[in-house]
């Protein structure tokens, strides 16, 4: 995932991967890998498994805040646009009615809020996930095309401080994996 790290960057091995046939087994394997002291890992599954990201020690609350910020931006910019146009740039006296007729600005302000919040939520998901990314070393893993169908994978990455190709593989085998193999970069 992240390339910054320590001395193991040169290794041709991206990590070792274990395949499970069952999400519950993947979950307990991730838990035990975490207990064993591994930190740099990722799990791959064909559908979202709730709690799995937290189990591998992943937390990120940025998207909701970013979307909230996008919504605020949309609301403010939408309202400011209408106000600026109607009051400053193109004031138009219609029978003495107020120029800043804010209730009539609400629908467009609302739509702008939604639009910018949605664009932010959508865009930040891709940006933070680093997508699109046509090549990823994980695609070299054996059987990895099952990860989008019925395979459940746990990959301990070579950047982990505790990582050792042989030892980590041996460890993963103790977790009841169907298959354990190294992943080349």
């Amino acid at each position: 995932m992240h390339t910054e790290g320590n001395v193991l960057v040169q290794s041709p091995i991206y990590g070792v991967i274990a395949e499970f046939h069952d999400p519950d087994m993947l979950m307990s394997a991730a838990e035990r890998a975490r207990e064993a002291g591994y930190r740099r890992m990722d799990a791959y599954s064909p559908f979202p498994i709730h709690g799995l990201a937290e189990t591998i020690g992943f937390e990120d609350a940025r998207i909701p805040w970013l979307a909230f910020g996008g919504g605020i931006f949309g609301a403010v910019s939408g309202f400011m646009l209408l106000t600026w146009v109607s009051v400053i740039d193109y004031p138009w006296n219609v029978g003495g009615r107020p120029l800043l007729s804010w209730p009539q600005f609400i629908p467009i302000t609302f739509e702008c809020t939604i639009l910018f919040a949605a664009l932010t939520a959508f865009g930040s998901q891709f940006f933070l996930n680093g997508l699109p990314k046509p090549y990823d070393p994980i695609f070299n893993a054996r059987n990895f095309d099952r990860a989008s169908q019925d395979g459940f994978f746990l990959c301990i990455e070579a950047e982990d401080m505790k990582f050792d190709v042989e030892e980590t593989q041996a460890f993963l085998r103790t977790l009841g994996a169907d298959d354990v193999s190294p992943v080349e970069r």
């Binding site: 995932m1 069952d22 999400p23 519950d24 087994m25 979950m27 307990s28 991730a30 838990e31 990722d42 799990a43 791959y44 599954s45 064909p46 559908f47 979202p48 498994i49 709690g51 799995l52 990201a53 990120d60 998207i63 909701p64 979307a67 646009l81 146009v85 109607s86 193109y90 007729s101 009539q104 600005f105 629908p107 467009i108 739509e111 702008c112 939604i114 639009l115 919040a117 949605a118 664009l119 939520a121 959508f122 930040s124 998901q125 996930n129 997508l131 699109p132 990314k133 046509p134 090549y135 990823d136 994980i138 990895f144 095309d145 099952r146 990860a147 989008s148 169908q149 019925d150 009841g176």
Partner: protein
Amino acid sequence: MATRPLTGGSGSGTTPPAAPPPLRNRLVPQNFIDGTHNYETITDIIGAVVLSPRPPMIWFIMVGLGFIGLNFMLLAITWLLLQGIGIWGNNIPVAWSWDIVNFVWWIGIGHAGTLISAILLLMRQQWRNSINRFAEAMTVFAVMCAGLYPLLHTGRPWVDYWLFPYPNILAMWPQFRSPLCWDVFAVTTYFTVSVLFWFLGLIPDIATLRDRSTSKFAKFAYGLAGLGWKGSAKHWFRYEQSYNILAGLSAPLVLSVHTIVSFDFAVGIVPGWHTTIFPPYFVAGAVFAGFAMVLTFGLPLRALYGLKDFITDKHIDWMAKITLATGLIVFYGYILEMFYGWYSGNVYEMGLVYHRLFGPYKWFYYALLFCNGVWPQFLWSPAIRRNMPFLWVTSIVIGIGMWLERFVIIPVSLTRDFLPSSWGSYSPTLWDWMLFLGTMGFFTFLLFLFVKFLPMINIFEMRDLHYRYTGGHGNGNGHNGNGNGHNGNGDHATDGEKVLTNQERSALPETRGGSA
């Protein structure tokens, strides 16, 4: 066929219910997948619709018909651009007619998609997972059809960009206080958000197709569209955050869009338009028409592609119930419209009620009451909700009824102004017909292309459903069983040996639960 309760656990596996629960007791959550399935068969059946080398003959026929319709649409648009909107039946006083009728009709159809995908998601109605993808596609295509009409109705579509507040040297701005301008913002936002939502939902399934397809071109195309999705837990985490936020944003959005559409009328002072019931009544009508359209296309597709295990009779039943419920709201709207006419104490408002009931367009009004008020009452009967051909006919009747509703509201109201000297009449021309049928063709064409090239049922959410209700293999501990899951398999004697294939493993408890 066994219906598994949510909290059944392994207990339900060992003692299967003797008989399916009676219809009235079906308030407990149930499995929304019929038959015996595992992750592989779910992926297989839904993916096969896309990946099978030759689609069924009926697919070619429908795409062909749609393509013919599309060409009629292009012809109608071309002639319109050359001649101006004088080729339509629009006149003064009926300046808004089929173009606006069809705009409102199409955009209403789109609303069911958003309702199913966003509002039912927020309410944790998991039965939505089988139908949301298809309904979202309908939303996107219906909004495309809808958007065409007002754009063409401007008369000079080549300067439609004037609708947007862009920096210009014309010393002009759009009239931001007009509901018509609100419409521009509402519909473009709605279209954008619908496309984002749809595409975001598609990404993991496109990745599945990438990994399953055998042809080089398909692998490349799906690889490109899938953006390198790898199913990482970290990605799923952010994905779900983003998806839920989009759902949360779409829910108020869809309500706002049809509210604003109704403002196009309700803000005007034309008799029959100037009522406060319009926003909720329009939104309910949109959902009503939309669910009917989902049934119109969903029922044949379900039969054609053998998807009855995923779009079960229960789904159909519930969709029919929502149709009935929204239909009753709409019917209430019709009653209130008459009430308002009387209660306003206004001679023009009351005049419009008489005009609708006894005027030259009275048959349209009676047909509307029949299609939307009387016929949907059949849906009270469970037997009719299970009778697919009848239900399909009902969905068509509702589609026609909702079109008539907009016809009665828009041109029929406009033929009666405040002064008898400005009364008029309206009839459509050949070009009105051609454009309307053309957009239907366009819609059909896009929808069937979608069915062929993208998974019409959300595959990953079906896997998730399968997991939630069976634990992937009949273990009902589901996703809560973090540490428990591994050990929880102990009650399957074969599980510890790890010699069975995934498929056999998944099938095991299913058959045990189902055969007894």
